[in-house]
């Protein structure tokens, strides 16, 4: 048993690599050899994790990935606990349907981060994903619980069909953000296009946002401006074409 498991990307995949076996809690009971033998799919063909990554450490739920994983999809799929840090960018389906633990990406993430598997009703149901970069389309789509934080911009349809949970976006949001939102909160600190089916409620200082942003500053070491913590937010209720119990909170300054 070691303090952490480190996966070092030794061979860059030439096609899309689906590595949905990488989850911090899954590694807690596995030795280095067993981790290397975990199945992945490379360009549609079966392979093993060890063909691409060098494995250091074993039997730990703190996992670190080093290397540019832009072509690697499904990292953190179904993760229930533990800590997974990626020093680089990742592909699509980060934290797909995860239910606990924390994923910290020191780079960008592809589409459907924190989202749901194809055909599934629910995306992530717990845990935290912090992307210190931008995300692709439909990040947080259909999420049921949990927290997704993006420090730069998001693609189209962020939070689409969210059932509950919280998305915090420090950069600009793409079109269609929050569409079909049932419950949950999207906190937009940058530019965001309000869907037509969201209705303005008021401008106020939401106390939970202050608490949340302070938490992100202290726990995740994110740069959060004091004016964002104590600032005023426009509250838009929506999606009124759905339950209408969700909200889009747009920061409007101190």
């Amino acid at each position: 048993m070691s303090d952490a498991v480190t996966l070092i990307l030794a061979t860059q995949p030439t096609h899309t690599l689906v590595a949905d076996c990488i989850a911090a809690d899954r590694f807690a009971g596995l030795g280095a050899t067993a981790i290397a033998a975990l199945p992945v799919v490379h360009g549609g063909r079966p392979a093993t994790l060890g063909e691409f990554f060098r494995v250091q450490g074993e039997r730990a739920s703190v996992v670190r990935i080093e290397g540019d994983c832009t072509r690697i999809d499904g990292i953190g799929t179904g993760m229930a606990e533990g800590e997974l840090t990626i020093d680089g960018s990742v592909g699509r389906d980060l934290g797909l349907a995860m239910s606990g633990g924390r994923i910290d990406v020191r780079g960008n993430a592809g589409a459907n981060a924190g989202g749901a598997p194809a055909g599934a009703a629910r995306g992530m149901t717990g845990g935290e994903i912090v992307v210190r970069g931008s995300v692709g389309d439909e990040a947080g789509a259909r999420m049921r619980r949990g927290l997704l934080v993006v420090t730069e911009d998001a693609g189209r349809g962020m939070g689409k069909g969210m059932i509950a949970g919280t998305v915090v976006l420090f950069g600009n949001a793409g079109p269609g953000t929050g569409r079909f939102l049932k419950r949950g909160s999207i906190v937009a600190l940058g530019e965001v296009e309000r869907p037509a089916t969201f209705r303005y409620a008021c401008t106020y200082r939401p106390p939970h946002v202050a608490l949340l942003l302070r938490y992100l500053g202290s726990r995740c070491r994110l740069d959060v401006a004091a004016a964002q913590v104590t600032g005023r937010y426009e509250r838009y209720s929506g999606d009124l074409a759905e339950l209408g119990k969700g909200e889009l909170l747009r920061w409007v300054g101190a």
Binding site: R145, G146, L147, T166, R183, S185, C202, Y204, R205, P206, P207, H208, A210, L211, L212, R214, Y215, R219, V229, T230, K245
Partner: protein, 296 residues
């Protein structure tokens, strides 16, 4: 034993095990947090008549509160497990929920016993309330006319100590009051301790039961009443004409001991003849605070 010429009696304060919760109340200003806390802890001097004992533990600077706003820490005690959530739900609902700008957080996050205070109060939101999980804790956002009231879902409960005390026996009322004020000033802000009575001081110490009225659970402590010295079995030494008591509740025995040490030393000043303490012979309460041992 004497401190500054004041005799310290060889006796002990007898205290009881109570259930305690700590609430952190924040506000836009310290003034608003304090307004809520003062109302919350009002009429909470003694379980004899108030069913709970409560007080402000200390003021909290911005950096010490969960939401980064100024606040106050409040300790809240009852005699049993069941009545603590009952009292908290009623009182927080009427005093903190109603107070502009405030939010309410748990101050005992590591306590395994959890009281569903926020969970009960959420229904004031009439279905419009919403919850948020931040850092593993669930909070309730209750919509109110001002905006939103934020409260933690559960509050921790620990076994605490209630009824720590000492009595200031003085030559006259002015000297007793000055000594009591000095003691309270020395104990104010002591971690884990509250002084639940008005200004931290009790003038009407009581004994258990009554000599005359069968329905009374507590009546005047005639053995320490100077005006009854000639007609009762008085415990007052010669020259004592006024007595004031300080009652302390807290999260644990060592906190109460530390506060008593500071308070008694501060009370030993001109005009005070003796410091003693109230007890029931050691038969009722499991916590015994021996004055000379504390001060030794």
């Amino acid at each position: 034993m004497k401190i500054n010429g004041v005799a310290i009696e060889d006796t002990f304060a007898e205290a009881f095990t109570m259930r305690v919760a700590r609430l952190l109340i924040t506000g836009q200003t310290l003034g608003w947090a304090r307004e809520a806390a003062v109302k919350l802890t009002g009429f909470a001097t003694s379980v004899i008549g108030c069913k709970c004992e409560a007080g402000i533990e200390r003021e909290l600077p911005d950096g010490e509160t969960p939401d980064g706003r100024p606040g106050v820490s409040v300790l809240f005690l009852t005699m049993d497990k069941a009545s603590l959530p009952e009292q908290l739900i009623v009182r927080v609902g009427q005093t903190v929920l109603t107070c502009p700008t405030t939010a309410c957080f748990d101050g005992l996050p590591d306590a395994p016993d959890r009281l569903p205070v926020g969970k009960a109060l959420r229904v004031f939101g009439d279905g419009f309330q919403a919850s948020k999980v931040i850092g593993g804790k669930r909070y309730w956002r209750i919509p109110v006319m001002e905006g939103e009231f934020l409260i933690e879902e559960t509050f921790g409960m620990l076994k605490g100590v209630g009824g720590g005390n000492f009595l200031i026996l003085a030559r006259d009322a002015d000297a007793a009051l000055a000594a009591a004020e000095a003691a309270v000033a020395a104990m104010t802000g002591a971690p884990g301790v509250i002084l639940p009575f008005p200004g931290g001081v009790v003038r009407s110490g009581s004994k258990v039961g009554s000599k005359r009225y069968s329905n009374m659970i507590a009546t005047t402590n005639d053995a320490f009443d100077p005006t009854l010295k000639a007609v009762t079995q008085s415990q007052l030494p010669e020259g004592v004409n006024s007595v004031l008591e300080i009652v302390l509740d807290g999260t644990d025995g060592p906190s109460i001991e530390a506060a008593m040490r500071a308070g008694i030393r501060a009370a030993c000043r001109p005009g005070v003849l003796t410091i003693t303490a109230g007890n029931y012979g050691g038969k009722l309460g499991p916590h015994h605070f021996y004055l000379r041992k504390i001060l030794g």
